[in-house]
Each structure stands twice: as structure tokens, then as C-alpha cells.
């Protein structure tokens, strides 16, 4: 791939990244970070290529460590994100509010706000 093609891909990816990620609500920023940690684990591909074509001792060592680091990112990142998002998705028991609360000032203000 020539350099200009790669730069084109990079610039477009910057715009896509900003567009998509700026829509993630503050509430989900911690899972977003751990998920991007996992996606960053894509560098394991580089480690695999280094190790897969390695032919000297130092290279074996560098490659194995790089693959292990990448795998920590991928496995740990996706799993911990899944664990956290499970906490957000968990549906709490529907709270049965007494009917009187509906007439109280301010009592209804919470219901529509989360959207």
C-alpha cells in the first residue's frame, strides 16, 4: 500500500473516530476506555507477525512478550468491558411509587430525563 493511500485511510478514520466516539455518553466512558484498550490489542497482530517470522533468540523473546502484552489487552479488555456493561444493562426491579407522589412538585421530573 502506498503512503498516500495509508494517509487517506488515517484521515478518514480520524473523522469516523471523532464522529462515533463523541456520541458515547459520559456515563459509559469507563467501559469505552476499557473497550478501546481491547481494540488497541490489535497491535498483537504486529507481535504475531514479528514472532511468526522470527529467526533469532532476541526476536523470539521480543515477539513472545509483544504477543502476550497484546493478548492481555484483547482478552482482559473485552472481558472487563463485558462485566461492566452487564452492570449497566441489569434491569432493576420496577419501583412501584405510591400514587400520591405523582402530584408532588418535582416528583415526575426524573422519569423522562434519562433518555
Amino acid at each position: 500500500m502506498d503512503l498516500m493511500t495509508e494517509i487517506t485511510i488515517f484521515v478518514l478514520a480520524v473523522f469516523v473516530g471523532f464522529e462515533v466516539i463523541s456520541k458515547v455518553p459520559t456515563t459509559l466512558h469507563t467501559p469505552l476506555m476499557s473497550q478501546t484498550n481491547a481494540i488497541h490489542g490489535i497491535v498483537m497482530l504486529g507481535g504475531l507477525i514479528v514472532l511468526g517470522y522470527a529467526d533469532d533468540g532476541l526476536e523470539y523473546l521480543i515477539g513472545t512478550i509483544a504477543v502476550a502484552f497484546g493478548a492481555i489487552n484483547i482478552v482482559g479488555g473485552f472481558m472487563v468491558t463485558d462485566r461492566m456493561l452487564g452492570m449497566f444493562a441489569r434491569k432493576p426491579k420496577p419501583q412501584t411509587k405510591p400514587a400520591s407522589s405523582a402530584s408532588r412538585p418535582g416528583a415526575g421530573s426524573a422519569d423522562g430525563g434519562g433518555s
Partner: protein, 469 residues
């Protein structure tokens, strides 16, 4: 190995599969915009990763399968154990560690590429390799310090090194000069010079993070996240791999957005956070001046009565709540109140906690419904209609001086406007100032009551008192 299934490195089939992989990353992040779809989005992204990894393993000529299995095995085991064991209060450390290993992997790959380049590397590969090596090493060593600070292995207060700025500048100039020297002799890049670059970059990473106080960690973690992303993208340029370029850029964008949001929420520039050494909690000290001003002090029973007969309550949690592990006790108070028909919401300041969105995760763990977690901009207009605002373990983010006093060190910082509420209860151990080291005017306002206690104990007492009413 299935010889018939091997893919040509850099060939159309492999590239097409990488394109599928990064498309799934984008779809996955896009579904992360809402909690109901985020879990599925995470699986979609993980599926993309599986495709990318399998594609690479099928490349023609791959070998050393034993070592590949070893590396994958070690990494997977560490990742699984860490992700199961980690407490939600420890998430910032975990992300710091992940940032670190990610950066470390990139630096190692760059080193290996340099070793392969003894027969000459074209500049459009060499420059990304050098960039990846430097940024990867800075991220690795900077993240290690961030991890150590968050884990309390080293003091969280700013650690000043004499001549800090000068040393950093010298290191940076040295790194750039060494990179230029390698680039101009690219027929045979010097291994030693490159290792020197990695070490200098590592030192720079350490020295940049050491002077930053614990309270500024959200910014540092986000920034290191952005760095690791950029280093991965650079590695993609070096290896001619589209998956690395796009995935690295996505991570870089995410880290950059979060860094900017955190800095905005503190009303400070990123440069100010990195280079001023401000933000170290002067722990326990400087409480003397405040004690003399008049304030109202109440007990758990009074607080319970105020809350139980309120129409609507807004809870404002800060990092103190996480330190005291009070999130479950607070949820009990909220449950008691909701059972009595009181509306309860949580107002989350963007920098509450030690990383972006940290407080939301802690409250989600305590089973607080997503709908009740309200962002600052959303809840502030509702404050005047709120009967009681309860501040738990938060301080500077509620200080009205940020709005009213243009000379205050935190002037202009967006705050949760609790002083607009009809009544305020502040649960806090003492009147001592927060990390900004300034007195909080909120404590002395006529509609504010102070409840001096440990957050967890106070919340448990209030919940019990409400139950007895």
C-alpha cells in the same frame, strides 16, 4: 496448519478480512452509545478482533507456533484473571495497566522492525517505526507510574524532580536528534541508538507523570490512552496494515476526546495539568482557617427527617464515596426514600472519580438504574426545584466560588449547582478543603447542613433512621 487456507501477506484476501475486522470495531463502538446495546457492541468488536487474529495466524510462512501459543496463553491467562478479579474502584489502575502493556507491545514491535531494517528502510516506514517506538515507550513507562500512583505504591502527591522542565526538554531534544540521526543513516539503522531512544523515551514517560497529582489522574489516563492509540496507528503505517491504522486511530480519537472533556471539566488546559504539578491532595492539612466560620452541624437523625419528608432528592457523589466504599449504603438510603415516594437522582460531575465515567460504573455496580444517573448539564436546571441535595465525598465540584468568585483558583470550572437547591446536606469527615486546597463556601451557606462522619457509616445510619420513621 492447513496449507490450503494460507493467505498471502499483504494480499487482497488478508486485507479484505482486516477491513471486515475494523468495520466491526466501528460498529461495536457505535453500539456503545447506549447501555442497552453496548454489551452487544462489545461482542461485535470482539468478533472483529477474532477475525483479525485468525487472519494473521493464517498468513503464509508463519511459524514458531510453540512460542505463539506461549505468548497467547500467558496473555490470555493474565487477562482473564485480571478482568474477573478487578474491583470497580480499581478500574483506573486496570486501564492504566492496559495502556501500559499496549504501549509496550508497540515499542517492542518497533524495535524488532528496526532490527530487520539492516538492509535499509524506506523513510515512509522508518519514520512511523521511530514514532511508534518513542510513543510506545513513553506510554509504557508513563502508565507504570500512573498505575503505581493509583495503586498507592508510590505517593499520589506531585513528586517534583529538581530541574524537571529542563531535564524533560533535554530528553525530548535528544530523542528527536537521535531519530534524525537514524533517519539520515537509514541504510544501516544503529541498534544502540534505537535502544537509547527507547530508554530516553521511557525516562521521559516516567518524569512527565511523576509530578502529576492523584486528582489529575483522569486526564493522564485519557492522554496515555490516546498515545497508545497513536502508536498503534504508527505501527500500522510501518507494517502496511489497515487494521492497525484504523483501530489505532479509533483508540487515539477516543483518548483525545476524553482528555479534552476532562480538561474542560476542570477548566484547565492539558498543558497546565501536565506541567504545573497542581492537583496534589494536601491530605488532611489546611483545615485550620475554616473551622472559625459559622456552619450548621447535624446528625444522622436530622438528616433522615429532612430527606424522608422531601419531594425530590439529588445525591452528588464524589471520589470520597468510592474511597469509603459507600456506594451500596447510599443506594440503601435511596431505596428507603423511593419506598416513601421521594424522587431520587444522582448528579455526576464529569471528573467525579479517578477516570472518565468512573462514578457511573461504581453506582451501576450498586444497582443504581442508568436512568437515575444524570449528567451535570442535565441536572443543574432542576436544582432550584430540588428539595434536598446530598453531597457525599465531593467537594470542589460543588463549590459556588467557581461561579461567583472570579479570583478563585477554580473560577470558571463547571460545577454541580447544589447551592441552588432548597436545602443541602454535606456528608464529610471535616471542613478540610479538597484537592484544589481552597475553602468551600457551600459549607457556610444558611441552607447547608454539615454531617460530619465517614460516608459509609453516615449513609448506613441515615438509611436505618429513615426506616424507623
Amino acid at each position: 496448519m492447513i496449507p490450503s487456507a494460507v493467505l498471502e501477506p499483504g494480499g487482497d484476501a488478508a486485507t479484505a478480512l482486516y477491513i471486515v475486522a475494523f468495520s466491526l470495531f466501528i460498529v461495536g463502538i457505535k453500539q456503545g452509545t447506549h447501555p442497552t446495546t453496548a454489551k452487544r457492541g462489545n461482542l461485535v468488536a470482539a468478533g472483529g478482533m477474532a477475525i483479525a487474529v485468525v487472519t494473521t495466524l493464517l498468513l503464509d510462512g508463519m511459524g514458531n507456533w510453540g512460542l505463539i501459543a506461549l505468548g497467547l496463553g500467558i496473555g490470555t491467562a493474565v487477562g482473564v484473571i485480571a478482568s474477573i478479579r478487578v474491583q470497580m474502584t480499581e478500574m483506573p489502575q486496570m486501564v492504566a495497566l492496559y495502556n501500559g502493556v499496549g504501549g509496550g507491545a508497540v515499542a517492542l514491535i518497533a524495535w524488532s522492525e528496526i532490527r530487520h531494517g539492516s538492509h535499509g528502510l524506506p523513510l515512509d516506514e522508518l519514520i512511523p517505526i521511530l514514532f511508534a517506538g518513542v510513543v510506545g515507550s513513553v506510554s509504557f513507562w508513563g502508565s507504570n507510574i500512573a498505575f503505581a500512583k493509583l495503586q498507592d505504591l508510590i505517593p499520589t502527591r506531585p513528586i517534583a524532580v529538581p530541574g524537571q522542565q529542563v531535564i524533560n526538554a533535554v530528553l525530548l531534544i535528544g530523542i528527536v536528534a537521535a531519530c534524525v540521526s537514524i533517519a539520515t543513516n537509514n541504510d544501516d539503522p544503529s541498534q544502540l541508538t534505537f535502544i537509547g531512544i527507547l530508554i530516553a523515551a521511557g525516562l521521559l514517560g516516567n518524569l512527565v507523570v511523576l509530578p502529576i497529582g492523584g486528582a489529575d489522574m483522569p486526564v493522564v489516563i485519557s492522554l496515555l490512552n490516546a498515545f497508545t492509540g497513536l502508536s498503534a496507528a504508527a505501527a500500522g503505517f510501518a507494517l502496511d496494515n489497515v487494521a492497525l491504522i484504523v483501530a489505532g486511530t479509533l483508540v487515539g480519537s477516543s483518548g483525545t476526546i476524553l482528555t479534552m472533556e476532562m480538561a474542560t471539566a476542570m477548566n484547565r488546559s492539558v498543558a497546565n495539568i501536565l506541567f504545573s504539578g497542581f492537583g496534589g491532595a494536601p491530605s488532611g492539612g489546611a483545615s485550620g482557617g475554616g473551622e472559625e466560620k459559622p456552619h450548621v452541624s447535624i446528625g444522622a437523625q436530622d438528616a433522615a427527617i429532612k430527606l424522608a419528608y422531601a419531594d425530590s432528592v439529588v445525591i452528588v457523589p464524589g471520589y470520597g464515596l468510592a474511597v469509603a466504599q459507600a456506594q451500596h449504603a447510599i443506594k440503601e438510603v435511596a431505596d428507603e426514600l423511593e419506598a416513601r415516594g421521594v424522587t431520587v437522582n444522582y448528579a455526576i460531575h464529569p471528573v467525579a472519580g479517578r477516570m472518565p465515567g468512573h462514578m457511573n460504573v461504581l453506582l451501576a455496580e450498586a444497582d443504581v438504574a442508568y436512568e437515575n444517573l444524570r449528567e451535570m448539564e442535565e441536572i443543574n436546571p432542576e436544582m432550584p426545584r430540588t428539595s434536598v441535595a446530598v453531597v457525599v465525598g465531593a467537594n470542589d465540584v460543588t463549590n459556588p466560588a467557581a461561579k461567583n468568585d472570579p479570583d478563585s483558583p477554580i473560577a470558571g470550572m463547571p460545577i454541580i449547582e447544589v447551592s441552588e437547591a432548597q436545602e443541602v446536606i454535606v456528608i464529610k469527615r471535616s471542613l478540610s478543603p479538597g484537592f484544589a486546597g481552597i475553602d468551600n463556601d457551600l459549607f457556610y451557606e444558611p441552607n447547608t447542613s454539615m454531617l460530619f462522619a465517614d460516608a459509609k457509616q453516615a449513609a448506613a445510619d441515615i438509611a436505618a433512621e429513615i426506616g424507623n420513621l
